[in-house]
Amino acid sequence: MNSYLNTVGRIFDIQRFSVHDGPGVRTIVFLKGCVLRCKWCCNPESQNYKIENLISNGKTKTVGKDVTVAEVLAEVERDRVYYRRSGGGLTLSGGESFCQPEFATALLKGAKAKGITTAIETTSCAPIETILKALPFIDHYLMDIKHINPEKHKRFCGKDNYMILENARIIAEKAKDMVIRVPVIPTFNDTPEEIGEIARFAANLPNVKRIHLLPYHRLGKDKYDGLGREYGMGDLPTPDNEKMQILKRVAESFGLECVIGG
């Protein structure tokens, strides 16, 4: 067996039959650990690298599991027939996959070696060398850009965005297929001006033609309680369709192809 298949990493979920993160039917592997602490994060259990307990419906669930690349790929293999019919494949998500660069790269490389297409959903908040090492094995690069203003980014995500925006320019040069994804969060970035700034940035990236606007949802709220943490967003409404349509038109005005929901 190729040794990289024995690489061990930490994941917290594998979700089969996902259709909203990359083309076709995909299996998403969620890697544990993230450098950002976005207040609205719908997967708070993804943020800490350490294995933790989550209480859900009165039952305690252990979140986080150490697995080898080979084990994950065996799970991914199960839905090959659906990838073949839909052009789908493996998607890495998180957390932030590049927090476990060796494991993430080995997963992507392993999938490609088996003829399975790959996608990654990433903040790209990682050293660019790390990302460039994995890039040849990534077919669809879905990159989050949450805000253009570094101050506001820091206030809501725990870290400024200098590295993210800088990396975006480099990755866009080299990625096979890149999409910019924007979570639309009320009180944070849901004004036409703010979305417009992100869209302008995206439109100026080389080779980038598409942007996804992902409306805020509260589905992760209960998990904060289950982890004994506080939900930082309070009681925000989810953006309605009318608002999303307005923002979509803003994004399109920069010549981008825009999809709501990805």
Binding site: Q15, F17, S18, V19, H20, R78, S86, G88
Partner: protein, 842 residues
Amino acid sequence: MSVYFSEELPKSARISALVDHLFDEMPEVEHERAVLLTESYMQTEGEPIITRRAKAFKRILEALPITIRPLELVVGSNTKKPRSCQVFPEFSFEWLEDEFETMETRSADPFKISDETKKVLHTVYKYWKGKTTSELASSYMSDEAKTAIDHNIFTPGNYFYNGVGHVTVNYADVINNGFESIIARAKTELAKCNQGDADYAEKTAFLSAVIMSCEAVCDYAERYAKLASEMASKETDEQRKKELLTIASNCSRVPRKPARNFFEACQAFWFVQMLLQVESSGHSISPGRFDQYMYPLYKKDIDEGNITREFAQELIDCIWVKLNDLNKIRDAASAEGFAGYSLFQNLIVGGQDEEGIDVTNDLSFMCITASIHVHLPQPSLSVRVWNKTPHDLMLHAAKLTRTGIGLPAYYNDEVIIPSLVNRGLTLQDARDYNIIGCVEPQKSGKTEGWHDAAFFNMCRPLELVFSNGYDMGTLVGVETGDISSFDTYEKFADAYKKQMEYTISLLVNADNAIDMAHAVRCPLPFESSMVEDCIGRGLPLQRGGAIYNFTGPQGFGIANVADALWAIKTLVYDQKKYTLADFKEALDKNFGEPLSPLKVQQIATLVIKELSATGKTCTEGEIAAICRGIKANETDPAKKQFFMQLKNDIEALDKFGNDVPEVDYFAREAAYYYTKPLETFKNPRGGMFQAGLYPVSANVPLGAQTGATPDGRLAGTPVADGVSPAAGRDTHGPTASCNSVSKLDHYIASNGTLFNMKFHPSALEGESGLESFVALVRGYFDQKGSHMQFNVVSRETLLEAQKHPEQYKSLVVRVAGYSALFTTLSKSLQDDIISRTEQKRF
């Protein structure tokens, strides 16, 4: 390479009006057919039964009230009011008379009945005592088979109480050649009969009956021609007047003579479809490959510029409305099993021709569009899928799926064709298959398939293993020994195999008794005139006139049996954590949960029976005390704790439906306990038995008759439907469910398998939703699954509909092999649908 028009054509205002008219009133029982039938039978005592059938049919068609409903283009109704029904006392009547007072208020499929109708039917029914198919079937049946039915091991109720139906006749023959050609063929055969032939009597009587029946149908069409002319002469609206004159012209032409254009073909089709359902009460009269046999005249009209696509679409839509106008009343118990006023008129589009070439055409798309337009449960629309099915057709079908109507169902040519060849069909015939009723494949115009011959509950024989073959003190199965004697899993499994084999033989006995009763008392000359080779052989379908003869009773509860056997194997024999005695006690006590009223009643009956055997009679007060005691199901807390632990341990095991190959292949073996013994049996028409694995909706009422099972299922709760995983137990998403279900042997279940999935509407949103949905169907079929169907509706919507049924009258859900109006289903069936695992992660 076919070129097709795949766009969605508009819906005309007429269609909305026709649909509205359908739902103006509650369905009602009408009595004319029963009266005419009985009058005729009284006049023909002593004549050959086939002659009596033909004369009665003729009499009915001469005098049954006819009506053309407002704005109709395709005409012919067997009831005065829409969605009403005639009744069929020749099959059975007692249940109907018993239910006169309750049919209007029952939960599943209620019907109105007027006092006059009650009175008339009451008189008519006096004649039928002792003369029905069900009474004859009953006298043919062995006592053991009757006992097994009484103890709910299986139920052959469908054909026991009603006509058989379940056929696709050769519509093309009538459309292209007219009944005059069928009559001529029968006359030619008749002329060949020699006085000295051994089969002279039966053959001549049959052929004469065919001729009389077909003539009667042609004359019936003439009545419509006349009515339309009269209505035209009084009509003031010029447009409608013109339409009525065309209707008159159509009805005086077809179905006697060949149809000359698409409009006439539609009318010819409808007369056949409707009148088959006047001759017999059998349901699942399936139009089959409508897009194929209607295509030549459609194409001719389009090519010659006689018709617009929009008008052709309107005509198809009109037929769709008519298919929803037909109705039948069933006894209260059957109505639960076939809930939703469904007639299972299965119509299928797409697929390949006899030579293996894809024949998707304009009409394939237009049929799907028609279901989008009328948004009603009939026809049970199906799509044939194979490796060369155009992607456009899949997407158009997926759009219909997305409407949440539960249509279409998807069928896999790549499995069904070889499975039919394996049953003796020629490759050409197998390639030309269509679907009957729910999920049952057959070759149209050549088959008497008896596709829906019984429901067999695979869980019940498992219960018998624990009780040495006894149920409530009566020997129902075979004595396989006390459970203490099963010291290996193989011995336990062997006991289940023996119970299965024995009860399956009883099922065969019951079906064959009913089969004979239909041959003797209700042969059907009209239906037989359109199925090969009845005319050539001079035999009706019921006597083996068809080229292909089958009997297909369906098993259900595979998921429960598989999970149950797996639990026993793992916990008793592999881990030795529990004994069979532990299981038996837990099952008897329903895992410590309260017992259902039915179970209480059963146990009380047993206790009282045992007491009376010892010479003690119980007073009413004592009986009540016994019932109270049982109901409380008093188990000491320690025991209760133990049962809970057992149930938790069972629940922690891997279950069928989660892509665990070991468990899934185990389920494949479990299904063989039903499918393999069955195919060794023969029916009286010279055909074989073949298994189906689907429940219609019987898994709910029959689950109510089933005790707790070793898979942790509680007593009285629904049994798993079809080949689907048990409700709520497939938790790894749709691809995992599909992978599991595809591991069953779908070839051997050649009478069809049924796989239900339920999706939240968000699952199919947008283009990516549709594409992924199609990929899921394709992926399941690549792995040799046979059938798939979908409910696309949110749980919240269903719960709302239960609360406010009046606001959800048109909410259509997929029940089993068919769709039905949700609010017409019984509460328990509604609950079952709500509890089916909802796949959100699309």
